[in-house]
Amino acid sequence: MIKYLKKVGEAMVKVEFLGPIGKEPMEVEARTLRDVAKVLQKDEELKKWLKECAVAVNDRLVQDLDTELKDGDRVSLLPPVCGG
């Protein structure tokens, strides 16, 4: 139960892994994207993807680790693309 209790000032965000990453979405407590990064770094399977993934918050690409997050935000990891 404790994992669903947020710390003060933290938001519960959903992290989703697009395309070939092939991992189920997870819920993460975070104030900013930096907090999300800290959590994902701990996952050995994800580490290799972090180097090459772009990041979108609520379907907008972001480039700042200090991007603030609020409850219900959706963080998406986008691996290298190749359409056509």
Binding site: C53, A54, V55, C82
Partner: protein, 148 residues
């Protein structure tokens, strides 16, 4: 103006529909790009995932750029498996005159390759293999690699 289809595109049907749409609107130049799956490296098919919300946003930004130049863009893309010698991608530009159409088709297709949120897989013996080597990193890639 952005169409997404499971499996290969029915190229002739889409082309004809687009053409008739543009003809009635008095566009003088109509350019289409068709991307077809080549038989190479022993693949049976290519396969695609795409992230539709971001793809639509990317496309709408391009549509606005085209409109500023008096032109209109259309695009069709497959999701899932697309066998060799069939097509997974079509793009089109309509414009009053040729010059804008020739410029836009190039800019649009090149940016598509670099920035459209679509992932490609080779299909060999029924297995989907991510085409990492042919893929390009999006802007800001590596942001979360705070360890690196």
């Amino acid at each position: 103006m952005l169409e997404i289809y499971p499996g290969e595109l029915e190229v002739d049907t889409i082309f004809s529909r687009w053409r008739r749409w543009g003809e009635r609107r008095n566009y003088g130049a109509f350019i289409t790009f068709v991307g077809t799956v080549r038989a190479e490296d022993g693949i049976e098919a290519l396969s695609f995932d795409l992230y539709e919300p971001l793809l639509r946003e990317w496309f709408e930004r391009w549509q606005e750029k085209a409109q500023e130049r008096g032109a209109v863009l259309r695009m069709a893309h497959s999701v899932g498996n697309v066998p060799v010698h069939t097509s997974s991608y079509m793009a089109a530009v309509f414009s009053p005159k040729r010059r804008v159409a020739l410029e836009l088709i190039e800019e649009f297709v090149e940016d598509f390759k670099a920035n459209a949120p679509i992932w490609k897989y080779d299909v060999k013996q029924g297995e989907r293999i991510y085409a990492r080597d042919r893929s390009q990193r999006l802007a800001g890639s590596g942001l979360l690699d705070i360890d690196g």
